[in-house]
């Protein structure tokens, strides 16, 4: 074969292969792959165009209605379900995997060590997780609450929902913005992880949290899993949970990578149930998903492995600092 023919064939294949892949994916007989593509794109904050550019609203609605409406009514938390036992300040980190994703779980035996770190520059700039941990002189942590992408403001500088620190509401969006209210996730003075929807400042105060942020949805309440449908959105995920004995679980599952495609909310829920979680909630995911321990980033964030600037983090403090 002539050299010219070989070059022509290679160039044709390089150009046409992605076109055919997307052609088969979008218009071929591959319903499941198409559903995952649409649901994954539509559940991101800034990549919805990957679905909207190729599919009409009717197709997007068909898939997303069937896969997003997975949340049952959130039951009231049983006050006596978690008994915080006085125990060691031991922290362990384990490798985990579920479905098509892998990541890390941090088990913090003493829930009193868990706190919130909030960026000092709200409205100006977010901070990478590393800096939020240093700011609180903590030993580790995970990204936590929501943020709003606002034109003209730096990434991660505008938190979403509510932030509570040292028992005070230090930041709050307008409650009227969200019809269902904000999902509040935080710890009370008894170091119990509290999860629930709030629509007014009075409802936030009624939780009497020492620290907390907003995200969601709740995944497990009183040991009952709330996500019933399998879901089809594969994303990097961050979650927080508490076991019956009070130990706190920080979970990160990587995504958008060849080695770890991402996890559905049900994957996260199933993994946390395996680890004995009785209450659990989803936190901000996507490229925000990050976990640090002992000064090292121990997962692989999807944004080229770099920590994104975020407004808040759940951190775990030194054993004798609380």
């Amino acid at each position: 074969m002539k050299k010219r023919n070989i070059i022509t064939a290679v160039v044709t294949i390089i150009i046409s292969l992605p076109v055919f892949c997307f052609g088969w994916l979008f218009y071929g007989p591959f319903e499941t792959a198409r559903k995952y593509w649409i649901c994954t794109a539509m559940s991101t904050a800034s990549h919805k165009y990957l679905a909207t550019a190729f599919f009409p609203d009717s197709v997007i609605d068909k898939y997303t209605d069937a896969n997003f409406n997975t949340l049952e009514k959130v039951p009231k938390q049983d006050e006596n379900r978690v008994k915080v036992e006085k125990k060691s300040d031991k922290i362990t980190v384990e490798d985990v995997s579920v479905g098509l994703s892998s990541g890390k779980i941090m088990i913090i035996e003493n829930p009193a060590l868990v706190d919130i770190s909030v960026c000092d520059y709200i409205g100006t700039s977010g901070l990478p997780l590393k800096n939020l941990i240093i700011q609180e002189n903590a030993v580790g942590g995970i990204n936590a609450g929501a943020y709003i992408e606002k034109e003209g403001s730096a990434h991660g500088s505008m938190p979403g929902g509510v932030i509570i620190k040292d028992g005070e509401i230090i930041y709050s969006e307008e409650f009227e913005k969200e019809e269902d209210g904000f999902c509040l996730i935080g710890f009370d003075n008894g170091n119990i992880l509290k999860i629930g929807y709030v629509k007014t400042e009075a409802e936030v105060k009624a939780y009497k949290l020492r620290c907390g942020v907003s995200f969601g949805p709740p995944l497990i309440i009183n040991g009952e899993p709330l996500i019933k449908a399998p879901g089809a959105s594969l994303q990097p995920r961050t979650a927080i949970a508490q076991r019956e004995d009070g130990a706190v679980l920080f979970l990160v599952l990587d995504g958008r990578q060849a080695s770890s495609a991402g996890a559905t909310l049900k994957n996260v829920q199933d993994l946390l149930l395996e680890y004995g979680a009785v209450n659990a909630a989803n936190l901000d995911g996507g490229s925000s998903t990050s976990m640090e321990y002992n000064g090292k980033l121990i997962n692989k964030p999807s944004d080229n492995g770099d920590e994104k600037r975020i407004p808040s983090a759940f951190v775990v403090k030194q054993g004798d600092s609380r």
Binding site: K2, N5, A9, T12, I13, S16, F20, L25, A33, G99
Partner: protein
């Protein structure tokens, strides 16, 4: 011995496009099977 006929440019592009379509089908079918299995 008879010299093999030369492939025209159009034939090369056509064969390459066909091969791409088949490979792409196999790739997406594999993805479909993996996603169905989880």
């Amino acid at each position: 011995m008879k010299k093999p006929e030369k492939l025209s440019l159009a034939a090369v592009i056509g064969i390459s496009l066909g091969a791409s379509a088949v490979v792409a089908f196999i790739v997406i079918a594999a993805v479909e099977i993996i996603l169905k299995s989880i």
